[in-house]
Symmetry: C2
């Protein structure tokens, strides 16, 4: 959907003549009260559920969660998936032409924040005629957007579902983002972010960034269980520093290669920066409870015990700050082995918690 009106950004800049890609699932009811907005994390898009016709392997990234009869039941809810500004899956991003210069944005794409994304999403909902969301939901960086919605548009959010998220990044999180960014930026094929014109892609940097990411998505336990010290071939060591020796190396290289084929390097920088910057307590001298005082929504928070990227303690900070404000909060800490990745995986307890919560939203009566 094209937007001609300039969107003012947190940085002071603005972006004009941009478009947002989105998909919808289910039917918006007569009083437009059953809309659920799904916010994505780093490597995802507006395609949250279902498959495209004739493309059996094109499942949406949250297809186990969203669909007819699924925890977020599209027989009851009107679900909206949207690709964020600066991403590389259809919405306006660094690979598109800057209307001010007539040249591809590249590194000149404005730095966008979680707040900017939420503002852009709000305009999309305006265009769809949705004044209030039954729920806004996301995992990881998507959870930050859900939390941000409850702060920025309190009256437009009845429920915020914040999964495997945090009220801000800690130093270690920022550190991993920074290493990934340095790997991309120092790749000679990055060309200061204007690699499109050179006909190259900084794949080396993207590979390294993705490998680092994958390590932080998995728990120590699941890595040891899935890969351990297993050799890739046979039982004899090759004694090589560059050949693949262990299964875990093979897995990481594969993930890195795959990612570098489709993900945009400038998008990677933008999205990790948005993660770094998100910090609603910042304007309140670090007092999260004070920051969350303006929320009006009810909340579901979910965390996973082995998630060391966004540990349960970080979700509990949000829960505590909401309780300090006497908000209605449901909190589930799922004892899952899969680390941060768990929020995308099938875990019956997790899916049932979300299912029960959305059943409650439906039962509130505002949903047809």
């Amino acid at each position: 959907m094209p937007f001609s009106q300039p969107l003012p950004l947190q940085s002071g800049a603005a972006i004009r003549d941009y478009a947002l890609s989105y998909e919808t699932y289910g039917q918006l009811n007569a009083d437009k009260s059953n809309a659920v907005l799904i916010c994505h994390a780093l490597n995802a898009s507006h395609h949250v559920a279902g498959v495209y016709e004739g493309q059996p392997r094109s499942e949406g990234w949250w297809d186990n969660m969203i669909g007819p009869g699924k925890p977020v039941d599209t027989d009851r809810f009107f679900v909206v998936g949207v690709n964020n500004l600066g991403s590389c899956f259809g919405s306006t991003g660094p690979m598109h032409v800057n209307p001010d210069t007539g040249r591809v944005y590249g590194a000149d794409f404005p730095v966008v924040t979680v707040e900017d994304w939420v503002d852009a999403q709000a305009r999309l909902l305006d265009a769809l005629g949705i004044r209030q969301l039954a729920a806004v939901m996301g995992g990881s960086l998507g959870g930050m957007q859900a939390l941000c919605w409850s702060l920025r548009y309190p009256e437009r959010v009845r429920h915020a579902v914040v999964v495997a998220s945090a009220p801000n990044l800690n130093a270690e999180n920022i550190a991993f983002n920074e290493v990934a960014r340095r790997a991309i930026v120092t790749d000679p094929d990055f060309h200061g972010g204007h690699f499109y014109a050179q006909g190259v892609v900084p794949k080396r940097g993207l590979r390294i960034a993705r490998m680092i990411g994958h390590i932080t998505y998995l728990s120590d336990d699941v890595m040891n269980e899935k890969f351990g010290r297993q050799l890739r071939e046979g039982i004899d060591l090759k004694y090589s520093t560059q050949d693949i020796e262990f299964q875990i190396e093979s897995y990481l290289r594969y993930q890195g290669d795959k990612f570098s084929e489709y993900f945009d390097a400038n998008t990677y920088l933008l999205i990790t920066r948005a993660l770094d910057y998100f910090d609603p307590a910042r304007a309140h001298c670090g007092n999260l409870a004070q920051a969350l005082a303006q929320t009006q929504a009810k909340f579901l928070l979910v965390s996973f015990t082995t998630d060391w990227r966004f540990a349960p303690a970080r979700s509990r900070e949000i829960v505590q700050a909401l309780l300090d404000n006497k908000r209605a909060v449901t909190y589930a800490e799922i004892d899952a082995p899969h680390g941060h990745d768990a929020f995308l995986l099938d875990d019956a307890r997790y899916l049932n918690v979300v299912r029960a919560y959305f059943a409650r939203i439906a039962a509130e009566g505002a949903v047809a």
Copy 2:
């Protein structure tokens, strides 16, 4: 010290006409019973203690631990520091000439293992006339060498001091090593490991490798305390993906830059591979107790609660396997906040444990 006799390696290859750099501290006693061998980790050398004349900032890397009146008291013990084969601080390494070809080794330097290092160290001790060590000691990868000594030369080790170490790397450890290696190997300035002839250094890759390393050396807690979300300058955000915004970014970039100025890229590959390969239980179908049955030494193990690189649980595996063999084991788990780095830092409890242990060794009477 030069060695002309070829050293057979675990890989089946051999290395000939190599030299080991070493330093000694204190006096070897008459019956040569007071020798302590110090083994280094990734980024260290034979210069374990003291300062070089006229170079006040040249403290040895374990200077807080080793010296006159220090926990490893060089008034009592004859301490030997040795730089390992393949390293870049004086001993024969990839930057030296291969006598078989007359060309610099580069990527052709043979892959060396912890076992190979220990064998080379044993030859150095032979040359110094030391038949038995009062103790062999090391932290991290150095601890693996100490453990390996107790297995490979059981009768030559009275005490093994294994600090912040592990019986092998787990999948996550290998994963971090692999990302670092890929960053180096895919740097265009690596030239397949033969960059010396090109007059360049793969600094980009070394920087990334070091940044990743530093993240894993520090605990989450100490990172949050030291850096947190502190901005580098002022209180206003710059909204930039490439400029330094947070203090932690500044710290990591500085560490990466510094490292890339002096460390050898091929050495980085070799040493991380030696880490990956070390696994004494491997020949015993993963049974560590069985592997450690051949030890004769007494042991001190030390771990640090916030070390997530080599977590206390990994030290406890060694302790348990030694107890299963009814070996004499002292184990201290120090509640230090500094993560893996703690083994190099001043912590009175830690230093006192080591001091008391070495006082006991001295009191055994074999030491003058």
